[in-house]
């Protein structure tokens, strides 16, 4: 039979001899031992020190009545313990992340199932209730559970299985003790995770970012609202912040740093490796509403006289660079001036010995770094661009603006 935490709280507990011991006030789970088992019951008894009953000391559990299989003397007195998860205090009314539904939800009630072991009964948390039935039970808590169960019948159920529940604990020490990891969050799409984090408190967001691996953290920060990512980075340990910024695309990192006080952003840039830091520094010089502010200074460029074969061979040697998003390659002439772009598809279809300049896209398009974003949008719109090259006064390529930069700029206008 399924039991709810709201039904069991306040139940009278009796020992093996049938003597009243106290009332159940709290359930604890010891995640280090078993992730879903109720390991301890807190029994209060008025003015005396509350007692703790271990799971193997409980003979039966039903709404209103808990029977122990030992005498009262076998119970220990309660001592607060940080490594125990308290169902009422840490779960009820708190926000959790529902991994399967990719949502932040608030817990109304906790559902448990009893499991018979030899001579005792164990409660296992099966799911958390986030829907109306749980709300009704909370509201009417104290009425006989039969009445409540009748009333809530027919209400739409909304529950999340315990294995899909990701707890949020801002305190890193407690997180460690409760074995709360955010590994499962790393499997979510960074954009989903970012959206969920916007609903959490400042401290909770901080806790999640701090416990993710750098790569995921960087991806999430790139997707988060700029104000929030700036707030998070500012509060992180500088070394960790620099590690995360290093993983981010330079233009996204520049966006984050742009709103920080000068000293803080300088400190973070100093922690970053020279090459990455320089790229970000340069981007910080531009107004975010110009081509220079939108561009990414990391782009792929090759000499226009090189052949397709040479380019492919060079790309294969570059394991550091990520070509996943690559759709256009920038060409430069022997003077390092911008001479055109080659769509990757054209390259795929070309022969090995074909020089890159024969694959150029027409017309030849580029903008200066001071061009305002509206001009950039118009170019993308008119020529259906994927990528636009930004060049300086001497027509040397400085970076590229890709269509996703345009989309995010448009969305944030």
């Amino acid at each position: 039979m399924n039991l709810y935490a709201t039904e069991l709280v306040g139940s009278a507990a009796f020992d093996a001899q049938g003597n009243f011991v106290g009332r159940v006030r709290e359930f604890f789970v010891e995640p280090a031992e078993a992730p879903n088992r109720v390991s301890h019951y807190l029994l209060s008894r008025g003015k005396y020190q509350p007692l703790i009953a271990r799971h193997d000391q409980v003979a039966s559990v039903e709404p209103g009545k808990v029977t122990l299989n030992v005498g009262e003397r076998a119970l220990r007195e309660y001592v607060p313990n940080e490594s125990l998860l308290a169902v009422q205090k840490d779960l009820l009314d708190q926000q959790i992340i529902d991994i399967s539904g990719r949502k932040v939800v608030r817990v109304n009630d906790v559902e448990m199932a009893e499991q018979r072991a030899n001579g005792n009964v164990e409660l296992r948390i099966t799911q958390v209730d986030v829907g109306l039935p749980g709300a009704v039970r909370r509201l009417l808590q104290g009425l006989p559970s039969k009445v409540i169960r009748k009333l809530e019948k027919g209400l739409p159920q909304k529950a999340i299985r315990w294995e899909f529940v990701n707890l949020i604990e801002p305190d890193p020490l407690r997180r460690l003790k409760l074995r709360i990891t955010h590994e499962k969050l790393e499997d979510l799409h960074p954009a989903d995770l970012a959206e969920m984090m916007e609903q959490l408190s400042t401290a909770e967001r901080q806790g999640i970012i701090a416990s993710l691996d750098e790569e995921t953290a960087a991806a999430v920060l790139g997707e988060l609202d700029r104000r929030l990512s700036t707030q998070i980075v500012e509060k992180l340990d500088p070394e960790k912040a620099a590690d995360i910024l290093e993983e981010m695309a330079p233009d996204a990192a520049a966006d984050v740093l742009a709103d920080l006080p000068k000293e803080t952003s300088e400190e973070l840039l100093d922690e970053m490796p020279g090459q990455e830091a320089n790229e970000v520094r340069e981007l910080l010089e531009y107004d975010p509403k110009t081509a220079g502010g939108m561009m990414n200074p990391e782009f792929v460029f090759v000499g226009e006289d090189s052949t397709r074969y040479e380019v492919l061979a060079w790309m294969k040697r570059q394991d550091e660079m990520k070509f996943e998003q690559l759709d256009t390659i920038v060409l430069v002439d022997p003077e390092a001036r911008f001479s055109g772009t080659v769509p990757v598809v054209r390259m795929m279809l070309a022969g090995d010995d074909q020089p890159m300049k024969e694959l150029k896209a027409e017309p030849l398009l580029s903008v200066g770094p001071m061009a305002d974003d509206k001009e950039v949008f118009e170019l993308f719109d008119k020529y259906n661009l994927r990528t636009l090259t930004v060049i300086d006064e001497e027509s040397r390529p400085m970076g590229t603006i890709t269509v996703d930069d345009v989309v995010s700029q448009l969305v944030n206008r």
């Binding site: 608030r106 408190s201 929030l228 460029f301 390092a336 001071m370």
Partner: protein
């Protein structure tokens, strides 16, 4: 073969050289930009305080006592600022709304209680706002049966189809329209020197009706729902602890402009209605009509327009804020950026508030007077509960860290809270037993 390693180096060198471009905006421009990014919630919330009910009370205060009550504006500004600042601080530090915090710290039942009370009190307030729309439009010769449905539709569409930014811009413009009261006051040709004297020097009359008017002033200026809206506003704007100073400036600016408008309304009616002996005005629409012969057509029109603006403004914000707060506290999905099927309860509540609020005004024999009184009584009863929740939460070190109230601030806040509670309870008492007051009070 072209040596692109060399080219790469050259491009790199050129890139570093070519960066002497436009610098980011720094210095004072930067600071103004920072403030502008945060301004909004405080300014909007305080100004919405001057809603239909509020304007009626200020009008009566000016008509009955002339400039004599002006001194109370300064302590009221302080009370408004102190209470609002705590909410702004909570929003900025925790990143959570007030109802979220109440739920997490005080559990489901307390939250449910607060939400249910809030719903009914806010509903009464929404009715009062639509009553304001009806009264103002009737001065312009438009029947309420045309004006109120149109207003309801405009409000509904504006919020559901606009983005947060657009809506906020419209709200800020609406704040600007409060300036009409400045014109109305100037057109009324008041005696500025006497007004200034009364601001600085309190005059106290120990008459029941005088004290009652004082109480009504305070009671209508600080409404309980505004705290939820204010805190949510800062959370939604993603204002962080580092911008706390700007947020505080926003709240201060809001409190001061709110009270400045009250000042102009009182001055306007004092210079005209009080001076000419028309002292038994009961609501703002009546005052606007009385202004036509006294201060000229434009004074009356601007006064009525101000009332319309204020009522519409509050009628937009109240249902939205209420639906938001309730869903947030009880764990339903909320927000105008959600689709209808994801946030059914939110949209239903929002629509219900507007439909019922506007609908009651259209009932042929609607007991508007009773509803207005009920909205004030409700505000008065609910305010202490909300303020006590706020004070308990803002003193929690585990939530607020170093930003908990200081001892001095707590003293000011508790004194303010208790004074407000006493005053509003007096107001509630006299609203329920009008014979105790002697003079009628507008909603």
């Amino acid at each position: 073969m072209v040596n692109w390693e060399a080219i790469a180096e050259r491009v790199e060198a050129l890139r570093e050289r070519g960066s002497g471009m436009r610098r980011r905006v720094r210095g004072w421009q930067h600071r103004v930009a920072l403030l502008l990014a945060v301004v909004g919630p405080g300014l909007i919330t305080s100004n919405v305080d001057n809603d239909a009910g509020g304007i009626s009370v200020y009008t009566q205060a000016g008509a009955q006592y002339g400039y004599a009550l002006l001194w109370s504006l300064i302590p009221m500004t302080i009370a408004l600022y102190v209470t609002e600042e705590m909410c702004a601080r909570m929003g900025v530090v925790t990143g959570k709304g007030l109802s979220d915090l109440i739920r997490e710290e005080f559990g489901f039942r307390s939250t449910f209680f607060v939400m249910v009370c809030g719903f009914f009190v806010d509903l009464a307030n929404v009715v009062a706002e639509f009553a304001g729309v009806a009264a103002a439009m009737e001065i312009f010769g438009v029947s309420r049966y045309i004006a109120v449905p149109i207003a309801a539709i405009v409000v509904w569409v504006l919020v559901l189809k606009g983005t947060y930014r657009q809506v906020e811009v419209i709200f800020l413009i609406a704040c600007g329209f409060y300036a009409t009261y400045i014109f109305a006051a100037i057109l009324a040709k008041p005696e500025w020197l006497i007004a200034a004297k009364h601001i600085a020097i309190p005059t106290f009359h120990f008459q029941a009706s005088y004290l009652l008017m004082l109480t009504a002033l305070v009671g209508t200026t600080i409404a309980p729902w505004q705290f939820f809206y204010l805190q949510a506003g800062f959370v939604e704007k993603k204002v962080g602890p580092r911008q706390y100073r700007q947020a505080r400036a926003d709240v201060l600016l809001g409190s001061i402009t709110c009270m400045a408008i009250v000042f102009f309304i009182i001055v306007c009616t004092a210079a005209t209605l009080y001076a000419s002996g028309q002292r038994n005005i009961t609501d703002a629409a009546e005052a606007a009509k009385a202004l036509f012969p006294l201060a000229g057509r434009w004074a009356g029109v601007t006064f009525a327009f101000g009332l319309l603006n204020a009522s519409l403004f509050a009628a937009t914000i109240l249902p939205l804020s209420t639906a938001h707060v309730i869903c947030e506290g009880l764990g339903f999905e909320a927000g105008v950026d959600r689709k209808f099927k994801d946030a059914k309860i939110f949209y239903s509540l929002y629509t219900l508030l507007i439909v019922v609020g506007a609908g009651i005004i259209l009932l042929p024999k609607a007991p508007l007077w009773r509803i207005l009184i009920f909205s004030q009584v409700g505000n008065g009863l609910w305010l202490p509960v909300v303020v006590i929740f706020i004070l308990l939460l803002v003193n929690r070190r585990d939530l607020m860290g170093e930003h908990v109230n200081t001892g001095a601030f707590n003293a000011v806040a508790w004194v303010t809270a208790i004074a407000m509670i006493v005053l509003t309870l007096v107001l509630v008492y006299t609203a329920i037993f009008p014979s105790a007051a002697g003079a009628p009070l507008g909603g």
